[in-house]
Homo-oligomer: 537 residues x 2
């Protein structure tokens, strides 16, 4: 346990990559690959052309760039969340146990432990050496060649601390590489994570704020960096809990911050609290390029790394992507917790549709107990900003993860005038539908118009329904046996695949169906004849 791994959890990124390879989830590319033009397009293909189960992490061992430079640092992509199965490997659990693992970790945080030294300080670059060759040492790939205006850190976990309490925040923000020693920072909101720190440091009169960017960590740290953790709790505590042992931290060389001792690379420096610089455009999770605008930037004072570090990047941008998987699981966990805190014990599943960037469409599956259940879900989640554009509550027999099942529920379990509500919502600065893109991005921050709204849909049955229109389980199971005997194409059955009772089905219905199965349906016809009635006029 002295080495910081709990219950055999991965000590560092390298150990985890080995585990991915053993599980058949790694593609190792030895051929030279241009990080500016070739790397992301290659990995992107699996998100447009493969099923999720077939997606893998990619390790590029021979990285070059458009200037002809060769890097001795390999790059790993999609190692954290290339698929749900990969994410589960990162937690050392089964895919269906992810939610449970997160709930347990949040409930039992484990504080980190500060140690004297760590491998991340094997190599320390500062001063003139840094000025001459700083960020260009790192093989930062261009995520969206042809549209992005620079390489951006996509898996840079930014560390900062509250000036009063010293509590650290770990947040994943995009970082635009601007020079050997300057990185742009876009955090999205001044109401969360690093944004709050920047406001506090400015208010305290500081002209800059110390910051560190950690790149390449074991999955527990990456997973917490994209999660919403309460402000007074540190991501390091939850990361420790996910691993089952305290996370070991070392003090930075040029700023007063603590970073994981087993990080592959750490970039230290300060964010200016006096000036802003242009940042973007950068391809975002909405599926569209995010506009350029003024934003924070960091002056780098030190780059520290292992002797043989691995550079890590997330495949983000057009959904689904690695980042939509990461964000989706994090947001689902946060909602689950929020609903539980508000006393909803009948939540069966929560799904952020990846194709909507794990933000725009949320499906909540409940065991319906009262007419007000869906409204209680909305009342709990909406005010806390958990919902994006559309939230749909479905019944226990609808697969919340199957978009077709959702459309089926929308078609036959709701009436718009009764079950649809539109309310105002927090504005997502990256949502291009709020305000004309030709206007200033800050226009969305004003307090009245332009509005951003939320579509709330209760797609649960308002009363008992007749059974599902499929043959009963018995005849379907016999059909499966016959199907196999006939040697027909292999089946991959989707629920529902047999009919079942949904509360409205009488004894008469049952007995007629039974007679029919026995071939005695003329008896039903005779009964009908005896009970004829005249036309109404």
């Amino acid at each position: 346990m002295n080495d910081g791994r709990g219950n055999g959890y991965y000590l560092n990124l390298g150990e985890y990559i080995d585990a991915l390879e053993k599980a058949g989830k790694l593609v190792r590319v030895k051929e030279p690959i241009n990080k500016d033009t070739q790397m992301h397009p290659l990995v992107r293909l699996q998100f447009r052309g493969l099923e999720e189960k077939d997606r893998k992490a990619f390790l590029f061992e021979n990285v070059v760039d458009s200037s002809g430079r060769k890097y001795d640092i390999p790059v790993v992509l999609c190692a954290m969340a290339g698929s749900g199965e990969i994410y589960a490997l990162g937690l050392k659990c089964k895919p269906e146990e992810i939610a449970e693992r997160w709930a347990a970790a949040r409930a039992n945080p484990i504080a980190p432990r500060v140690v004297d030294k760590g491998p991340v300080h094997d190599v320390v670059i500062t001063g003139d050496e840094l000025q001459k060759s700083g960020l260009s040492r790192l093989p930062v790939p261009i995520s969206t060649p042809g549209f992005d205006n620079a390489p951006y850190l996509s898996a840079g976990h930014w560390i900062s601390k509250d000036p009063e309490t010293g509590v650290h925040n770990v947040g994943n923000y995009r970082g635009m590489v601007k020079s050997e020693t300057r990185i742009g920072c876009f955090s999205g909101s001044s109401e969360q994570g690093i944004g709050i720190h920047i406001r506090k440091w400015r208010k305290a009169g500081h002209r800059s704020m110390p910051v560190a960017i950690v790149i390449g960590v074991p999955p527990n740290v990456s997973y917490t960096s994209v999660s919403r953790i309460p402000y007074d709790m540190c991501e390091y505590d939850v990361a420790g809990s996910l691993a089952g042992a305290p996370l070991e931290l070392v003090r930075c060389k040029t700023v007063d911050l603590l970073v994981p001792a087993q990080s592959e690379i750490v970039i230290e420096g300060h964010i200016s609290l006096e000036f802003l610089e242009m940042e973007g455009p950068f391809a975002e999770f909405t599926g569209f390029m995010a506009k350029r605008d003024y934003s924070y930037f960091m002056d780098v004072t030190c780059i520290a790394m292992k002797k043989r570090p691995i550079f890590a990047a997330f495949l983000s941008q057009f959904p689904p992507s690695e980042s939509s998987k990461l964000r989706g699981i994090a947001r689902e966990n946060a909602m689950r917790r929020c609903l539980l805190e508000d006393g909803m014990t009948n939540i069966l599943d929560i799904h952020q549709m990846e194709v909507a960037g794990s933000w725009g469409v949320t499906v909540i599956k409940i065991k319906r107990e009262s007419d007000r259940d869906a409204q209680r879900v909305f009342d709990s989640l909406a005010p806390k900003g958990h919902l994006g554009k559309i939230a749909i509550v479905v019944d226990e027999d609808v697969d919340a993860r199957d978009p077709l099942a959702i459309f089926w529920a929308l078609a036959f379990r709701m009436q718009p005038h009764r079950d649809v509500r539109i309310i105002d919502n927090y504005r997502n600065v990256l949502d291009p539908s709020i305000v004309d893109c030709a206007l200033d991005r800050n226009a969305v921050k004003v307090e009245d118009e332009p509005r951003s709204s939320l579509l709330l849909i209760d797609a649960t049955r308002d009363w008992n329904y007749p059974p599902i229109a499929l043959p009963n389980r018995d005849t379907m199971e016999q059909a499966i046996a016959m199907w196999k005997k006939l040697g027909l194409s292999e089946l991959n059955l989707k629920r529902p695949w047999y009919g079942y009772d949904l509360g409205y089905w009488s004894e008469e219905d049952k007995s007629e169906a039974k007679l029919a199965l026995e071939g005695r349906y003329f008896e039903t016809g005779e009964k009908h004849q005896a009970k004829r009635r005249p036309f109404e006029t």
Copy 2:
């Protein structure tokens, strides 16, 4: 051309089944199969467990029933619309040509031709012979064993005629087998097809209306039987046009009606205009059992058939099914025509989601020309009853047939308060969400409450958007080449798979992206440094 086939179109169902088999789209089952318990469950499996492209038609050659009876009439299921490819075979065209084939047929109807005799009259059963053994001769399968209360005709095309004009109607309605000589009829609405005829014959003082049910016809007749054809036009005219030659008709033996000479089976008789009988429950396209209620019934006077007829059934009920495919294509065609008649020339695609029973969710893809385009689409379709529960208008770059693409568009191209409208709609008597199922079905017919409503969503971009967040086409095409060279898993690329311009992209954006591709992004960083601005306070 004398035999009624135009341009080599299928003469009868048998010829078409041969074509299906040649195309690898037929499963021939020689083993004994119980029509009451085994047949539909077996074929149902392909709709729950196979991809659409792998679905086939099934021909059962050895049909038995729960009473131990053996039938000498084979049964074919899913021959008309087991999949889009099968439907296209039925029209002798490619799947992508279906809409065009329909538009041409509707524009150029070909009147049928009455002939003296046809093979459907090879065997004629009437009188005592019919009373003793009528409908039990036919291998009518139970569609939903365990829930349906009888075998129902699912592909029975009901023929009736206007008492004044003599114009025939051909409509596909479910027919409950009640005795050797009685069949229940549920037509859904008194405002369409046979419902109009029944009202007119009653109004004219008749106590019964002559009717014939045709079972087993070439695809052109089946396809028109489920289409909405204007009241003054006959389905036979469109069927002729689809085949490219007049449909040959013969006069019935016991009623004054004309039916296709090449039908496999014809059931003749009268619908009572004095009495109604209980009918249902029957599994419906909504995915739920439809409730029992009083409905029409027919007294059979004659069964005529070929020497070796084939009995045809549709796989209906839980969507997707054969019937949702049939209805979907028919409804899409009707909408296309409606929008064109209303002057909308910018409609690129219309899609009825099968999972919503080809009724509940309609997606209309347009080339957006003005802010009012979506509204014009809704104004054209909604008053004529073309829309079900939800209608969504999307842009030209969104795949209207991909449910995930629809959710992406909903998430980032619409604002609920601006783009969503709820209006009253016609009531679909089979929609279980309108009124408590425990109440009488007729309650939905009253003129005030309960309401049925329609959710109209304009999910098109309201202004120019930044480009799609994917690498440009050039780098993606190179990535595809590299992917193949590396021998990675086979790709099945989904659109969009490269980034493209959507109107908002400046010269500065372009030139910075170009510099980045060349590795010259520090030049952009220098420009940013020179244009810093102070924090706003």
